[in-house]
């Protein structure tokens, strides 16, 4: 996998949100460091999982990666194009090749548009169709591809269930024939039975269309099921990144260990036998992250050094990256 040219390269991506105050002339009173320097690459046809607690910056990372939020710093390369320098036709080429599926299927479809208009939007924007009839044909084909009835094309989003809507979101993302899709917690708003259907659909589409995914999630078992490699985020930074089995079987970072020990095991005997790492306290505010290693206030093994020095992001074993002084 690594011998191929990566499809997506992210280098030291930073996204800060200014906190503004003032009636007429606004001044900045603080900075939310939502994403604070993350680096990774994704090979073609690979699925990279991005996991972490609520509020750790996963979603912001995914959206900034596509330029939906202007990045504060860092480089983003998608399919050979530098996203930060892209505008006009280059930007449209990136928009066509990189798509996103959102978490909330109730919020991600325009309630006043028909399914045909929603799925047809990328076709219209990128001039991929020349006539109304061609659009209808293409939309029917996409509906069939995601397992919906092609006759639904004149319905409105409110006539569908959550799982069906998520399929519509997938169909829209696929309409412009992309190479790369950011899946922003595409299943966490769905029922467990529907989750499996949507995940299977995503895997099936990946096999058939050779898609590359950035799969953002907080459900570790689902990530293990779908991803090739997994990155663990904590408070705006990636603390560990490794191939799936390597990460699940030999986690190095204490935060990863704690996360994995929180995954329920469907066997009470095994569950009682294992050692749980229970983290104390809450995630600190990204407005004022702790100095040194961001995890040190909650880390069970933190030493003096962790309070002062930011741990280096280094490759410990081939393909296994971690940011911790004690590994």
């Amino acid at each position: 996998m690594t011998d191929l040219q990566p499809l997506v390269i992210v280098n030291n991506l930073v996204k800060h949100f200014p906190v503004m105050r003032g009636i007429l002339i606004q001044r900045q009173v603080g900075t939310v460091r939502a994403v604070d320097g993350i680096s990774f690459f994704i090979a073609p046809s690979e699925t990279l999982g991005l996991v972490g607690e609520s509020g750790c910056g996963k979603t912001t990372a995914g959206r900034t990666l596509l330029g939906l939020y202007p990045p504060t710093d860092g480089q983003i390369t998608i399919d050979g194009h530098n996203l930060r320098k892209a505008h006009g036709p280059t930007m449209m080429a990136i928009r066509r090749k990189a798509q996103i599926i959102f978490q909330d299927p109730y919020a991600s479809l325009n309630p006043r548009w028909t399914i045909s208009a929603i799925i047809g939007e990328p076709l219209r924007v990128h001039h991929l169709i020349s006539s109304e009839a061609e659009r209808t044909d293409r939309v029917r084909e996409l509906l069939r591809l995601v397992g919906l009835s092609p006759s639904h094309l004149n319905r409105f989003p409110h006539e569908f269930s959550g799982g069906q809507r998520q399929r519509i979101g997938v169909a829209r993302a696929l309409a412009s024939d992309p190479k790369f899709i950011v899946c922003d917690e595409p299943i966490s708003a769905l029922d467990v039975s529907i989750q499996a259907q949507v995940v299977n659909l995503l895997e099936d589409l990946q096999d058939r269309l050779g898609l590359t995914y950035l799969f953002i999630a907080h459900d570790l078992s689902m990530v293990r099921h779908i991803c090739d490699r997994v990155a663990v985020m904590y408070l705006g930074v990636i603390v560990e990144l490794a191939a799936r089995d390597e990460l699940y079987e030999h986690p190095l970072h204490p935060y990863t260990k704690a996360l994995l020990s929180a995954v329920p095991i469907p066997d009470p005997k095994k569950d009682r036998a294992r050692r749980r790492t229970i983290l104390a306290g809450d995630v600190p505010s990204p407005l004022n992250p702790p100095p040194g290693c961001r995890f040190h206030p909650r880390c069970p093994i933190a030493v003096e050094k962790c309070h002062q020095d930011v741990p280096e992001w280094r490759e410990v074993i081939s393909g296994h990256w971690v940011a911790c002084h004690l590994v």
Binding site: M91, S108, R112, S151
Partner: protein, 320 residues
């Protein structure tokens, strides 16, 4: 010997295509109508509005405008009779005919002032909400500056200021007092701040919504995002505000005209028919009763319709 086909004439059923099985889509306007019609008062309001519009339009076919403006002091202040069903005013004009032509002007003022108000409110609110930053700050402080001055004072000052020599206008063969245009303009120019704030709030919420982000990820233009994604989704409060705005504009016109700064006679409006009527409150009730009743009815019915629309268009109440 061949056995006769026992069912010789039955054709196989043509299988239905999936499209034929599909129920017609339940559009949002259909859903809104299903919710609206549960409001009895709103339906009554619609009924009264229709009757009023018929009264003002069909009535114009019965009486000529010349008749409505014809004065004969010899028959001044006559009580309702079979010749003048609503009586006559201080200079002997027929009040029935004047309420018909006055209604046309009052409704016209209401509708056009609201169009102006809504256009301004949408543009200012949309620009402010969508682009944010300094533009937003400047526009909103300006909006608030207008909001804190009571509208009626603003209207009176502007009415006085623009009262100069406005020539009469002839539109479609009818002559209007130029003051009609002034009244429309000043009502429209002072009523938009509330709507602008509503639209801005809608834009602030919707521009961060996931379907707008999805449109941006697709590469839709800013124009498309504003006019095809966000605006259609903020239409509900705009429609409600515009409906109530018509009633408000009619009332405001009545205020100004009652105080003698509004539409000049001989052009009648329900408001300027009330001008001077207070001198005859006990002596000639018909002077104020009929135009007053009409204003009351139209404002009430528009408000009922507005309430019905508010519920019918509320995206948060999805039950039918």
């Amino acid at each position: 010997m061949t056995v006769a086909n026992p069912l010789p004439n039955i054709q196989p059923l043509k299988p239905l295509s999936l499209d034929e099985l599909e129920a017609p889509p339940l559009t949002l306007s259909k859903m809104a109508w299903l919710k609206f019609r549960r409001h009895k008062m709103a339906l009554v309001g619609v009924g009264i509005l229709v009757l009023m519009i018929l009264y003002c339009t069909l009535g114009g076919l019965v009486f000529s405008e010349k008749f409505a403006n014809y004065n004969d002091t010899g028959i001044a202040l006559q009580p309702p009779s079979s010749v003048h069903p609503f009586g006559t005013d201080v200079i002997g004009r027929d009040i029935l005919a004047r309420t018909i032509y006055g209604g046309q002007i009052s409704l016209l003022i209401g509708l056009i002032a609201v169009m102006l108000e809504t256009t301004l409110g949408i543009i200012i609110g949309a620009v402010s909400g969508y682009f944010g930053g300094l533009v937003d700050s400047l526009l909103m402080r300006f909006t608030e500056a207008i909001l804190i001055v009571p509208q009626i004072f603003l209207l009176l000052v502007m009415a006085k200021f623009f009262a100069g020599n406005i020539p009469n206008l002839t539109i479609l063969g009818r002559e209007f007092s130029g003051s009609v245009v002034v009244i429309i303009a000043i009502i429209g120019l002072t009523s938009w701040p509330y709507l602008a704030r509503i639209v801005r709030a809608e834009f602030l919420t919707l521009k961060e919504s996931e379907f707008v982000l999805a449109a941006r990820a697709t590469g839709s233009s800013t124009f498309d995002i504003i006019f095809r994604h966000i605006l259609p989704n903020s239409i509900a409060p705009i429609v409600v505000s515009a409906t109530l705005g018509v009633a408000n504009a009619i009332t405001l016109e009545a205020y100004i005209s009652f105080l003698g700064l509004g539409v000049r006679p001989p052009t009648a409006t329900w408001g300027n028919m009330l001008e001077g009527a207070y001198n005859y409150i006990d002596k000639a009730y018909w002077l104020w009763l009929f135009p007053g009743l009409l204003i009351l009815l139209i404002v009430l019915s528009i408000n009922f319709v507005g309430d019905g629309l508010r519920d019918a268009l509320d995206p948060r109440s999805r039950t039918i």
